[in-house]
C-alpha cells in the first residue's frame, strides 16, 4: 500500500516537474546578484536600480541572499549559482576572506565575478563597483561629525553588529581619522543594534542618559539612524545632540525635516545596483576588459575606472535642502 503511495509521489513529482521546467526554457543571459542581507532596505533600493538595468538589457536577474547577514549562507548561495551555471555573479561581500574561496571557484567555472558595495579579495573578482571607499566613508562621516561639533566633545557610535566586517572596516577608518585630525573629540561608546531599529533606539536612549555631555551620535547601519534619531527626539535633545549616519532618505526624511538628524551620508544606491548590472553584462560580453579607463552604463552615462575599481562617485550628503528629491 505504501509502495503505491511511493509511486504516486514520484509520478506526481515528475508531472509537476515537467510543468515547471516547461516555463523555464528561456536562454537569456543570467546575472546573479548577492546582497549582504536581503531584508535590508539598503539592498532593496539597490535591487530597484538593478531591475531597471536588467529590463533595459533584456537579461534575467537573480537576486538572492541571506535573510540575516551571514557569511556561511553567502558562500552556499554562490556555490548554488555555480552549479546553476549563471553567467555573472555580483556580490556584496559580508566577509572578504570567507566569500573569496567561493568566488574563485566561480571564476574557475568560467563565471564572470564582480563585487559591489563591499569588496572581496582582489584575486577573487575582476572588478569592484566602488560606491565609495571605506576610507571615503570613514573620513566623510568623521569630517561631517567634526563640522557639526566644531571638532570637540564626546560622541558615540551605533553599529549593526560587533561581527559585521564592513562595519568594522568603516569603524576602523573613522577611528583612524579621529586620531589624526580631531584630538579634541572623544568616542565614548560603540553599541551594536543587531540591525534592529528598536534596539538602536533603546541603546541610544541609554547612551544619552549615561553621557550627559554627548554631542553627537553616529549610526553606521541603516536601521540605526532612525532609531538613534527617535531616541534623541524623545529625550528632548533635538538640536543639542546631533545625529548623522549612513541611512536611506525615506527612512530618515521626517527626522531630517524635524531637525533631529542633521545629515545622512549615502551614495545613490539605485545607481549602484544599476551600474553593477551593466558592468556585469559588459564583462560577460567581453566589452569590459582589464585596463579600461572608462565605462558607459546606459542612461547614467560614463564612469571612470581606477585600476579595477569602477567608481560610482563621491558619497552624497542628504540634508533638509535636498533630501526630498530622492525616493529610495
Amino acid at each position: 500500500m505504501k509502495k503505491i503511495l511511493l509511486h504516486l509521489c514520484t509520478a506526481g513529482a515528475v508531472l509537476l516537474a515537467s510543468l515547471v521546467t516547461a516555463t523555464a526554457a528561456d536562454s537569456k543571459l543570467v546575472v546573479a546578484m548577492l546582497p549582504k542581507s536581503k531584508g535590508n532596505a539598503y539592498f532593496i533600493s539597490c535591487k530597484v536600480g538593478a531591475d531597471k538595468a536588467a529590463k533595459e538589457l533584456g537579461i534575467q536577474l537573480l537576486f538572492d541572499g541571506p535573510t540575516d547577514s551571514n557569511a556561511a549562507k553567502q558562500n552556499e548561495i554562490v556555490e548554488n549559482w555555480i552549479t546553476l551555471g549563471v553567467d555573472v555573479i555580483a556580490v556584496a561581500a559580508e566577509n572578504k576572506e570567507g566569500i573569496s574561496t567561493a568566488l574563485r571557484k566561480a571564476q574557475k567555472a568560467g563565471i564572470k565575478v564582480l563585487t559591489f558595495d563591499a569588496d572581496a579579495m582582489t584575486d577573487a573578482r575582476s572588478f569592484f563597483v566602488n560606491q565609495a571607499t571605506p576610507e571615503g566613508i570613514g573620513q566623510g562621516l568623521m569630517d561631517e561629525a567634526a563640522r557639526l561639533t566644531n571638532s570637540e566633545g564626546e560622541f558615540a557610535m551605533i553599529v549593526a553588529s560587533l561581527t559585521a566586517s564592513n562595519q568594522r572596516e568603516w569603524q576602523k577608518h573613522i577611528e583612524a581619522r579621529l586620531k589624526e585630525k580631531y584630538p579634541k573629540m572623544k568616542l565614548v561608546a560603540v553599541r551594536p543594534c543587531d540591525d534592529l531599529k528598536d534596539k538602536a533606539q533603546s541603546e541610544a536612549t541609554a547612551l544619552l542618559s549615561a553621557n550627559p555631555n554627548l554631542k553627537l551620535i553616529m549610526a553606521i547601519c541603516s536601521p540605526g539612524v532612525p532609531g538613534a534619531a527617535e531616541a534623541v527626539k524623545q529625550a528632548g535633545l533635538t538640536g543639542k545632540v546631533k545625529v548623522i549616519g549612513l541611512g536611506l532618505p525615506n527612512e530618515n526624511k521626517r527626522y531630517v525635516h524635524a531637525g533631529v538628524t542633521d545629515s545622512i551620508i549615502l551614495w545613490n544606491t539605485g545607481d549602484l545596483g544599476y551600474l553593477a548590472i551593466y558592468a556585469g553584462v559588459a564583462l560577460a560580453k567581453d566589452e569590459l576588459k582589464q585596463g579600461a579607463k572608462t565605462f558607459k552604463a546606459g542612461s547614467l552615462g560614463t564612469f571612470s575606472i581606477a585600476g579595477d575599481n569602477i567608481l560610482l562617485g563621491k558619497p552624497f550628503i542628504f540634508n533638509k535642502a535636498n533630501i526630498d528629491q530622492f525616493d529610495f
Binding site: 523555464a24 552549479t83 576572506e97
Partner: protein
Amino acid sequence: MSVSPDNKNPRDWKALLTRHEMLLLYVLIAEWLFFYFAGTTTNRRGVVVGFGTLDRQFDILRHSCEIGLLALALTPVIITAGIDLSIGSLLGLCAILFGKLWHDGGLPIPVAAGLTLALGALAGGLNAILITALRLPPLIVTLGTYSLFRGLAEAITHGAITYTDFPASFLFVGQERWLGLPTQAWIFLGVALGVGLLVHRTTFGRAFRTIGFSLEGARYAGLPVARRLALVYVLAGLIAAIAAVIYTARLGQAKADAGTGYELFAITAVVLGGTSIFGGSGTVHGTLLGVAAIAVLKNGLACLPVVMRMNAAEEMSGLLTGALLLLALTASVLPKILSRFRTPHHAPAP
C-alpha cells in the same frame, strides 16, 4: 547506514514499512526526483546545470555537514529526553578558539584542532555538570550556556577579529574532494557511523533510551544515570567542536558569529527524523534522513526557475522547513489519534 533501532521487532516488516523513517525516506525520494526533473536545465552554453549535476549533489553534502553533525550530536541528547540549545553557540566559540590557538597560539593545525575538540568536550561538560549534579532542566541550562558561549566568543574577539589565511592543506578539508567525496563528508559519515553504533548497538544507547523513558526506572535498575547523561552532553560538545573545525575549513575563516541559529535547524532535523522530544524513542538513521530532507529542500528550491524568478529561495526554504516539521509532527501523532477509535497497542494497564 541501516542500523535497525533496537527497541523494535525487526521481523515485523509491515510495521517496518510504515515506520516514520520509511515514510520520511519516501518523502525524500519524491522530493529528490521532483527537483531532479524540475531543477535541472541546460543553460545558454548548452551545459546541463542545476540540481541534476553531480557538483550540486556534492555541494548539498558539503553544506549540510555542520548542521548534520549538530543534529547527530543532538540525537542522543533528545533520546535521553534532554535538549541542548547551546551547540550552535558552542560551534561559534570553538571556531574562535581554534582560530586563536592556531593564529595567536602559533600551534600547528592538527594540535590546535585536537585542543579545540578537547575544549568543546569541556564546554559540553559544563552543561553536563549543571544538568546531572544539580538535576537542572536541560532546556534552561542550555538556554543559559547558549548566551554564555556566544558571549564568550564575542568577548574573546571583541566581536571584531576574524581568523583567516588558513593553509591550503587545511582548507582541503572543507573545500576539496577526497576519494570522490567532499573531504568533510568522510568525517561526517564517520561520526554518523560512530553515533549510530553507540545509540543502536551498545549498552550506552540502551541506557540512553531507558533514561529517556524513565529516569527513575533507570536509577532503580542500577544504571549509572548521571554518568550516561553527562556522556551525552560531553559528546554533544565534542561533535559541536568537530563541526566548528569543518565550518572553519569550509569558509576559510573563524568568526564569532559562526553557527548562529544552527541549533534550530539541527533540532528540526532530529525531530523530523522521528526522534521523540519526550525521549526514549528515536534513531540515528532517522536523523540522517531528516538532515537530508531539509538539505535537499533548501538546495532544490534554489534550482527551481519559478523560485528564482521570485528571488525567494531563502525564505521559501525556511517556510517549507517549518511546514515540513509541522507535517511530520502531525503525522507522528496521527496513528495515536486514530487508535483512539481503532485497536490500540496499549490498553490502559489495570
